[in-house]
């Protein structure tokens, strides 16, 4: 019942947000097309790299295409359904959580799903285009859907954990933004190139490892059930942590009126 209602809320939000933005048809289509091109552009640099060397630790052009497809795809899923997560810090700082607090829904879920990015659709479409370019089998198309969802859930969870810093410090959201962009920066490169220090980071606070590298290595290139279980477990852990941290932080929430007091 609860799960169904919450899913219903999320989809209703997405539908209304898209409906709102679809009023400006050209700009709506532009945003999506531009994002697809933007992602495609990234591949051009790899053409030049693979002119110099045949492969990078087993990653050829095809593997890079798939890896970056997963990156873009889960970024897209996260920003389509949970774009609000990336704005939590600002909302906390500006005291704008009030409306969500008066509604009978989980506040975090409500805030996260309240906003939708249109260009995210382009990211998701791009993911499937990438799979076509790479000549994926039917099984890859099937597997990529849960991979994108779990990746998005990890991404959003980590971002929320850092956004809750805004309850305590003024520029908490900037730290979260930094982590968020680091995830996209690291995610697009083959995992073999990274040294130990990076690897520790990539399986903790910048969890590209769980989001992209495990699915890449153990679902698309090979198969290992334990790594996949680990990925799901990490998703559950990080999302649970996000809910707990947010709930604790909420006690510090000071609504809009303290801000006016500060000025």
């Amino acid at each position: 019942m609860g799960v169904k209602n919450n899913l219903f809320m999320i989809f209703r939000y997405v539908k209304l947000n898209l409906k709102k933005q679809a009023q400006y048809k050209t700009s709506f289509a532009m945003q999506i097309v531009m994002m697809i091109l933007n992602n495609a552009f990234f591949l051009l640099q790899w053409i030049i790299v693979f002119n110099i060397t045949k492969s990078i630790g087993g990653y050829g052009f095809k593997e890079i295409v798939v890896l970056f497809g997963i990156c873009a795809g889960s970024y897209g899923v996260a920003h389509l359904f949970f774009n609000g997560a990336y704005k939590i810090g600002d909302l906390i700082y500006e005291g704008k959580l009030d409306v969500y607090l008066t509604q009978p829904k989980n506040v975090l879920l409500n805030v996260c799903s309240s906003s939708t990015s249109v260009s995210a659709i382009g990211d998701i479409i791009y993911c499937f285009i990438a799979f076509i370019i790479a000549g994926a089998t039917w099984w890859w198309y099937l597997a990529v859907i849960p991979v994108l969802i779990i990746g998005a859930l990890i991404y959003v969870g980590v971002v929320v954990c850092f956004q809750t810093l805004a309850f305590y410090i003024k520029r908490g959201n900037a730290i979260a933004d930094m982590i968020s962009s680091a995830i996209t920066q690291f995610g697009a490169y083959p995992p073999v190139i990274f040294d130990t220090v990076s690897k520790v980071l990539l399986y903790t606070i910048i969890p590209c490892g769980f989001m992209y590298f495990i699915p890449m290595e153990y679902i698309f290139l090979g198969f290992n059930i334990w790594w996949i279980v680990g990925m799901v477990a990490f998703a559950i852990f990080v999302d649970a942590l996000a809910f707990i941290l947010f709930k604790i932080g909420l006690k510090k929430y000071s609504s809009g009126n303290l801000i006016s007091g500060r000025l």
Partner: protein
């Protein structure tokens, strides 16, 4: 002439002071800059390592490649080009530009000066980081001499200036077209692909002359190659092409601005 210079100097100073408020933003940008270099370092380290160390790819050693990338990334992080384009096109779209038309300065030159100040402020933070990374992590490239520091710095500043002259023109396109973002996007993508990621030597032979004579080379590859592989001859080439392009774009910019200005008064009634 002196008066004219003083006017824009004070624009520069004021913008520079105002930028102090955003210090924290720059710190965060510096972290992102560090991460990017760190990733590139590992990528190229791996590529060079795969084929046996101390090899040369297209005339670049690993050290030179990393020095090159540090400079192009530095230039990229110094110019938040999205900002100037958005500022100019917003001002044109919402009509605020009307208030600036009657001021005794040229709006186009004003914007370039003001954004140059922002870039210089960013450089104060980013340049030391870049220098530390070059000397501390990567090591000295064979061609390095202390004498190259001043010409290299000059070339970096000229590159930033050239970037602003071009991006401001893209912003001015808003006089005619509602949204100039796609133009920014296309141009910045070309800058990235043809300059940020690779030196000119990495591209197919037929493409190289086109890149070399384009402004993109003056913005990215030119100054970066200069730092990675310094020679006075190269400096002269790069500096001349930077100056020539900057003059060309300033003339074009002022021309476009004067044409666009008329459209404001037409809409103003």
């Amino acid at each position: 002439m002196m008066k004219w210079f003083n006017k824009y100097l004070s624009v520069f100073k004021t913008s520079f002071k105002q930028e102090k408020d955003t210090t924290l933003n720059i710190v965060f940008r510096a972290v992102s800059f560090l991460i990017m270099i760190y990733i590139f370092f590992q990528l190229w380290n791996y590529i060079y390592g795969q084929n046996g160390t101390s090899q040369i790819i297209k005339g670049y050693s690993l050290e030179q490649m990393i020095w090159y990338l540090i400079i192009t990334e530095l230039l990229y992080y110094t110019c938040r080009y999205g900002l100037i384009v958005k500022e100019i096109s917003d001002e044109i779209k919402n009509g605020n530009i009307a208030y600036k038309l009657n001021k005794p300065y040229n709006y186009y030159l004003y914007q370039i000066t003001s954004f140059m100040a922002k870039s210089c402020f960013s450089l104060i933070f980013l340049l030391p980081i870049a220098v530390i990374m070059e000397f501390g992590f990567v090591g000295i490239v064979p061609s390095f001499t202390w004498a190259q520091i001043f010409p290299c710095l000059l070339s970096v500043l000229l590159s930033t200036f050239l970037s602003w002259t071009i991006y401001s023109i893209i912003g001015l396109i808003s006089f005619w077209i509602q949204d100039s973002t796609p133009f920014t996007w296309i141009f910045s993508k070309f800058v990235m692909l043809l300059g940020l990621f690779f030196p000119v030597e990495f591209f197919p032979n037929w493409l190289q002359p086109f890149i070399k004579y384009s402004p993109i080379y003056s913005i990215m590859s030119g100054p970066a190659s200069l730092v990675a592989n310094f020679s006075w001859k190269l400096f002269a080439q790069v500096a001349i092409s930077q100056t020539v392009w900057a003059f060309v774009f300033i003339l074009v910019g002022i021309g476009i601005y004067n044409l666009g200005k008329r459209r404001v008064t037409a809409n103003g009634g």
